[in-house]
Structures are given as C-alpha cells and as structure tokens.
Symmetry: C2
Subunit: 139 residues, 2 copies
C-alpha cells in the first residue's frame, strides 16, 4: 500500500519523506477534499505547519493534488485521480460541497460544461462547484 505512495513520489522526482507519506496517506483515506486546517488536525502535531503549506504547494505543482475553489476563504485540496495515468491529465470535473456535512467531493464523472463567452473573452480554464445535499445527508 504505502509502496504505491512511494512510487508516486519517486515518479514525480520528489524525495520520499515522512511528512509526504503521511499527508498523501491522509488524502487517500479521506472521505473528501481536505483543507490545510484538516491536515493540521489529523496529522496531529508531528508535522510542522510550514511543512504542510510547502507540501501542499509542491503536490499541487507536481499535479498530485488540485485545488477546489470556495466562496469562503478556505481552499480545499483533493487528489488528482488521473495523476497516475500518462502525465498531468487535468481533467475538469465538477465539485460538490454538501451544505449539511460540508464534505467536499470530486464528481470525477461529471465534466464542467463549456459555455459561450461574450466576444473578446478567451477561456483557459473553468471551475464549477455545486452546493446542495450529498448522497449521505439526504437520508
């Protein structure tokens, strides 16, 4: 198990360190996306705040995780599913944020639709976040 994670780091030319293994592990076992604060809590005092910031940053640069925008100053991060496939896939899927449990989920199979922009605007990237009730909270 942990072996796969090591490979992932190596493949991306990153040193294999404790913090990175731990944080990646958190992502693999998390029910949804994680914010910096979540990691800080879960990885309990073994990892320095600064290290978490830097780790998230490099993970993002390497395309291992991606950010999920939010409306309340609390960016979350999630694993890039297709990371293991050939290079940076950067697929554009929709994200879901539950209004009840506030879990943030990648809807990997729902792609962000194209929209027609007014003349002069040149799109490069799109993000879509849907709020509502997740499958678990709609009991």
């Amino acid at each position: 198990m942990s072996e796969a994670i090591r490979e992932l780091l190596k493949k991306n030319h990153m040193s294999v360190t404790d913090s990175r293994l731990q944080i990646l592990d958190l992502f693999y076992h998390a029910p949804g996306a994680l914010a910096h604060a979540d990691i800080e809590k879960k990885a309990s005092d073994k990892i320095d705040r600064v290290t978490i910031y830097r780790t998230l940053q490099t993970f993002e640069e390497k395309g291992i995780i991606h950010t999920i925008p939010s409306s309340d100053n609390s960016v979350k991060y999630a694993l890039c599913k297709d990371q293991c496939a050939a290079g940076h896939h950067h697929d554009n899927h929709v994200h879901f944020v539950c209004d009840n449990c506030s879990k943030t989920i990648c809807l990997d199979d729902v792609l962000v639709p194209e929209v027609k922009l007014p003349g002069g605007f040149e799109p490069h990237q799109s993000n879509m976040v849907v709020n509502g009730l997740c499958n678990e909270c709609r009991s």
Copy 2:
C-alpha cells in the same frame, strides 16, 4: 445618484450610514468585483477594517452583493445585478477572472449550465468561474 443608493439601503431595512454609502458607491463604480483589501485601499483610512468586514457581511446577507469563489483564498464581492428587481433574484451567472489583469467580472448574460449529478445528490446552487484573458487584455 447617491439617492438611489440610499433607497437601496432603506429598502433592505439598513441604516443609512457613511461607510455603507461609500462602500456601495465603490461597488457601483468598480470595473469588476472587489476584495476586502481593494475596499480597504480605495476607501482610504476613513473606514475601519472591521466595519468593512461587517458591512460586506450584511450586504451579502441582504442580497445586495454576492461572493465569487476563488482558488487562492481571496474571495471577491460584486453587486447583485437584479437586486433592485422583486426581491432576491439570485440569478446564477458565470464569473470570469482574467489571468493577466486579474480583474473579476460578472458575465451577467452567461448562465451557469445545469449538470446531471450522480444519484442521491441534490443540487441547490451552482457556481462557475472561468479563467482566461479578458476582452481588454487580449489586445
């Protein structure tokens, strides 16, 4: 001019104060969305930081402005165009963020398309942000 703004405040059961008039005025004359920091600079030292926070919060609660999500912990606010119309209109338009000048613009005429969610998910609200080059930066 300022009279319209006063009316807007009254209509929403808010006291008409200097700070509010000033901040609303900023929004009406801004080229795009504004972040807390923008307001703090432009309203230059007359208005307390805390007042700005509270004003933005109440404006949002009253449906006068809305937030635009971002991927970098920097929420921006923009006027709700249809606010003056019958009650909270809450139309769902697409937002555009320029990668070059980083202006954030409401594309009031481009509506967020519907997407089909996996079973069990109940959508309430959708947000879509497109990054790229704005009409002015694509000279």
